[in-house]
């Protein structure tokens, strides 16, 4: 059957089960958009390509399926870059499609030419510059396979204009055959044996769980393991929701803004079981003092993560779910432990807390959102203090409910990610917790939410500052607030101008009614919470410091 490259592309996307594409058209994409016009695939038109990339990423995190975004050559493609880097850092399955100038014009600085495969080389799991429409079906199949298996990540397909236009024979691609790509899934028997022995010898184990638990769908196995060993679980930012936040064994988050009890537990444990985590510097602080007494077991699907940042005593490479399943089968239950008592005492002595002040406390708003959503909402965030408060005070119960830019820390992620999550989970209650700085980096996507009738709720914790940077200036630069105070627009009017509902909240008593109204509304609602201006995120491990030396 003879089909155009564009037709082959869309057919191949359908074959992969793609239900939605987040995109933005342009000259070289005309053949593709023409085919999409009649396709069953839903297309969401964002207002900026970065919005499309983040929305596809949010969709992927909320559903576990690959997100797809589409942008034109040159500026369209470069506008995707932050979104691709974000997906790369957080191991999110994303397939980014870009138009490219015709093959004959490549390399000549043609109009709207950008070497996007070159630009994204360090931030993609793999990429393709398609040379022949006959290869497209195979390439699309490989791209989805690579993006979604092993350690997931973004894959880019760059499509020159002539490739989408030209005809080729369409054949359904055969099985993927990539000799250089064979993820190891089952942990090595010997390593699992060593792990069980180390666990049996340990008196003070801590499980340190990362985003890999959620990616692998191993939250149930993680809970079983923790309960079997009575081992407390500290999660990373990416791991939130991988272990129930209200579970008696939960330590909440560890690291720079982790709970004191999580950080103390890591400092005093004799065995650290790292599961799908990567020992990021925001987690470990000073590596020299990280878990100094502990034997370290590292379970991860990506062998390159094992031993990258810390010395590991027992490396276990493999799919976290499979490894944990086998581990659980080999372990004896622990009945009671003095360690558990010690941790409970820390929890009582050093709970997460904030002081009362005259103004509206941002932490209180998160607590109220938690209470009024019954912990059932999907929470997307931007980057900054509000993100950390969301991580600390919303007790995530379920995987795929906390959607946040962890590794890259990209401001502007929250609202488009919330849009993607809402598209992927139409029945879910979705909140974007944003800062007054971050929200303005992709505020234009409010139009997208309004256009598609997405009932997302945006809660701006408006402190009139680039708060997180201001906090560092306060603590480490003698309160010299250089370029961090913001003169903001009227967010309520802005919301209304976009066709969303806007609510301003300045008093404690108004908090709950505003949240309730937002939850009930079937329109996008933006709440401008005018909060205390100079509230800080505590506890805090100063950058590069040791985990047991926390401020606040």
């Amino acid at each position: 059957m003879q089909l155009s490259g564009a037709e082959i592309l869309v057919k191949s996307l359908e074959a992969e089960g793609v239900e939605v594409i987040f995109g933005y058209p342009g000259g070289v994409l005309l053949p593709i958009y023409d085919v999409l016009y009649d396709s069953g695939i839903r297309h969401i038109l964002t207002r900026h390509e970065q919005g499309a990339a983040h929305a596809a990423d949010g969709y992927a995190r909320a559903t576990g399926r690959a997100g797809v975004c589409l942008a034109t050559s040159g500026p369209g493609a470069t506008n995707l870059v932050t979104g691709i880097a974000n997906a790369y850092m957080d191991s999110v399955p994303l397939v980014a499609l870009t138009g490219q100038v015709p093959s004959s014009l490549l390399g000549r600085d043609s109009f709207q030419e950008a070497d996007i495969t070159g630009i994204t080389l360090p931030i993609t799991k793999h990429s393709y510059l398609v040379g022949d429409p006959a290869e497209l079906a195979r390439i699309v199949k490989e791209a989805f396979y690579i993006a979604t298996t092993g350690r997931p990540g973004p894959v880019l397909i760059d499509l020159p204009r002539d490739v989408s236009g030209a005809k080729a024979d369409y054949k359904e691609p055969s099985e993927v055959n990539l000799p250089g790509y064979r993820p190891v899934l089952d942990g090595d028997e010997r390593q699992i044996g060593e792990t069980t022995r180390a666990i049996a010898q340990s008196h003070r184990p801590v499980i340190y769980a990362g985003g890999g638990v959620i990616t692998a769908g191993a939250h149930e196995e993680l809970r079983q393991l923790a309960e079997l060993l009575l081992a407390p679980v500290a999660t990373t930012l990416m791991g939130l929701g991988g272990f129930p936040g209200n579970h008696p064994l939960s330590l909440g988050m560890l690291g720079m803004h982790g709970t004191k009890y999580a950080n103390y537990a890591v400092c005093e444990c004799d065995l650290l079981i790292a599961v799908g985590a990567r020992f990021d510097d925001r987690v470990t602080g000073d590596l020299g003092c990280f878990a100094p007494m502990a034997k370290i077991i590292h379970i991860d699907i990506d062998p390159a993560e094992i031993g990258k940042n810390v010395r590991v005593d027992i490396p276990v490479r493999g799919d976290v779910k499979r490894v944990l399943t086998r581990l659980i089968a080999c372990l004896e239950p622990v009945i009671a432990s003095a360690w558990q008592e010690k941790i409970d005492n820390w929890k009582k002595e050093y709970p997460l807390a904030y002081g009362e002040g005259n103004g509206l406390k941002p932490q209180f708003i998160i607590e109220e959102i938690y209470r009024l959503t019954g912990g059932e909402a999907i929470i997307a965030t931007d980057v900054g203090q509000h993100q950390m408060w969301a991580a600390q005070y919303y007790r995530f119960e379920k995987p795929r409910t906390f959607i946040s830019s962890g590794g890259l820390g990209a401001m502007g992620y929250g609202m488009p990610a919330a849009i993607g999550a809402q598209i992927g989970c139409p029945d879910a209650l979705v909140f974007d917790i944003a800062g007054d700085g971050s929200i303005q980096m992709n505020i234009q996507e409010l139009t997208t939410a309004v256009n598609y009738g997405l009932p997302i709720n945006v809660a701006i914790l408006n402190n009139g500052f680039l708060g997180m940077v201001r906090q560092w200036q306060e603590l480490f630069y003698n309160r010299r607030y250089s370029q961090t105070e913001l003169k903001n627009p009227d967010f309520v009017k802005l919301a209304e101008a976009y066709g969303a509902e806007g609510i301003r909240v300045t008093e404690k008593a108004e908090v709950a009614p505003a949240i309730e109204r937002a939850i009930k509304s079937d329109k996008p609602v933006l709440i401008d919470f005018v909060v205390e201006r100079e509230e800080n995120v505590f506890p805090m491990v100063p950058p590069g410091g040791s985990l047991n030396k926390m401020l606040g």
Partner: protein
């Protein structure tokens, strides 16, 4: 310490950029890199000499493995292997020095591949030590131009770092 890696890659466009980019991005030092295709035209072989301790080497290997186009990596440093490098040297030569240069060429079992008005071009192959030595020996005459291929290497005996036609590793 210098390690010699034999890396088999799919012969796809951009594969060299992927490998080279990985080294610079992760701060690994390449001492030399030589690429060419193998008996299977779909597969190229890179010989990469990289500087680093065992920990760095472990990271280099693991990160290289993450590239989809990389099929197989063998660190052959600790095995018995043959390695060769080829060099072309254009050296100043006049009637007075020509004889002496030709003697050096003989000693190193090198060849003269071109004779110019005032120059000789010499080709030599050998391991790194030999190539360094001939370069040293010719330096006093004035080297006008020098090109080295970088080293290629292969295990001695029956052992091989190759893949068969299905891309499966040979045993």
């Amino acid at each position: 310490m210098l390690h010699t890696l034999a890396v088999l890659v799919e012969n796809n466009p951009g594969v060299l950029a992927r490998v080279a980019g990985l080294f610079s991005r992760r701060g690994f030092n390449i001492d030399s890199l030589a690429v060419g295709r193998t008996d299977n035209s779909a597969i190229s072989r890179m010989t990469i000499v990289v500087e680093g301790d065992d920990l760095i080497l472990e990271q280099v290997t693991k990160q290289l493995h993450k590239l989809i186009d990389v099929i197989k990596i063998s660190d052959i440093t600790k095995d018995e292997y043959v390695d060769r490098e080829l060099v072309l040297i254009k050296v100043n030569a006049d009637a007075a020095t020509r004889g002496e240069i030709m003697q050096i060429v003989d000693i190193f079992r090198a060849h003269i591949v071109d004779i110019g008005h005032k120059t000789l071009t010499i080709e030599a192959t050998g391991d790194e030590g030999k190539i360094n030595a001939i370069e040293q020996a010719l330096r006093p005459f004035g080297i006008r131009e020098l090109a080295r291929t970088g080293k290629i290497a292969m295990l001695r005996g029956f052992k091989a770092s190759s893949v068969n036609n299905n891309g499966k590793e040979d045993v």
